[in-house]
Amino acid sequence: MSTHRDRATGTPAVAAGPPDEYVEAEIQRLLAEDPAVAEQGITVVLRERGLMLYGEVESPHRREEILRRVAERFPDVPVTSDIGVIRAQAPTEVEELP
């Protein structure tokens, strides 16, 4: 059964907004389809205490843009971010394939 993000406050889910799963789906699509973001590799989880975003992106700028867009769309939802920027150093080992 779906629960609502405001359930900790005791607000009835129906009155307070859409079920979590729809919010997660909307954010996932926002991140993939918004031309300013276009990220498909971010995992979105809505928990009682707010929204958790994790995954990896190619630049700090993209991480900021993701957080800005999500905050814009869901201004009342607290967001915790654990989005990393992927390292781009030269490899130190090779793989030998027989």
């Binding site: 995954g55 030269a90 490899p91 080992e93 090779v94 793989e95 394939l97």
Partner: protein, 257 residues
């Protein structure tokens, strides 16, 4: 032995230009060729392709790529391909090429590929036109890859795709989205030729290693998976008589240190 560097899903735009370059400048010392497994850009615009050209052009080793789904987003594929070709990056789609090195001839066949899922749990060419179109796109892509692989005359054969040919390298992704990440038909195409190595990207949360049902080694080189500018594979010890003593040596080892 041929030294193959590979990475996919670099998603270059202005904000990424320069991040890969220091590592890329080392390539002539440690690799014979760089293979890119698609999703070079974020939205497939000509402007983003120019960023890719700045970052991955003029490297001192040949660069061969396929495109990914992101590179199709803005319907500017011809412009993107032209920008890349203009800096010497070869873009493969349903075709192959042979590169000559001292150790032998490397054949690379590439397609973007498409989704559909894996044997026993895949989409079928049946029902609504949209569904048939989806599966036929996959079939046509795989057929083109197979024909390109079988048509190459070379000493070492590599398949390059964006979508995955096997489920092995998707481990870490939600099972529910596997049909959007790859298709078994690509694996079947790879197994239809004496392929030595198959490289792909697309599955950011996947894992590095797998094999096709026919035993061909598959590597997911998506940048978020390998977490370095590129991976390097030494393939084809048999090509170099001087390296015969190393046959049987496998696994990761230190190099050029």
């Amino acid at each position: 032995m041929i030294r193959i560097a590979a990475v996919g899903d670099v998603h270059v735009d202005e904000d990424v230009v320069g991040r890969f370059r220091p590592a890329l400048d080392e390539l002539p010392d440690c690799a014979d060729v760089l293979l890119l497994a698609g999703d070079l850009t974020r939205h497939g615009t000509e402007a983003e392709a120019r960023c890719v050209a700045r970052e991955f052009g003029g490297l001192g080793v040949p660069v061969v790529t396929v495109l990914g789904n992101h590179d199709h987003q803005c319907d500017q594929v011809p412009q993107v391909v032209k920008v890349l070709q203009d800096v010497g990056i070869r873009v493969l789609e349903g075709e192959g090429m042979v590169l000559e090195f001292a150790a032998g001839r490397l054949g690379v066949a590439g397609v973007k590929g498409f989704g559909g899922g894996f044997a026993g749990r895949c989409a079928s060419d049946f029902g609504e036109p949209e569904m048939k179109s989806f599966v036929r796109t996959t079939n046509e892509s795989a057929e083109a890859l197979g024909a390109a692989l079988r048509g190459l005359d070379c000493d070492l054969l590599v398949a390059l795709t964006h979508y995955s040919p096997v489920p092995d390298t998707l481990a870490g992704e939600p099972l529910e989205i596997y049909p959007f990440l790859g298709s078994y038909q690509l694996g079947q195409a790879i197994d239809s030729a004496p392929t030595a190595l198959a490289l792909h990207g697309h599955a950011h949360a996947g894992s590095e290693r797998g094999t096709t049902p026919g035993g061909v080694r598959v590597r997911n080189v998506a940048h978020p998976v390998i977490k370095q500018a590129y991976s390097i594979f030494h393939v084809g010890d048999h090509l170099d008589a001087g390296q015969v003593s190393r046959i049987g040596h496998s696994g990761i080892r230190q190099s050029w240190s």
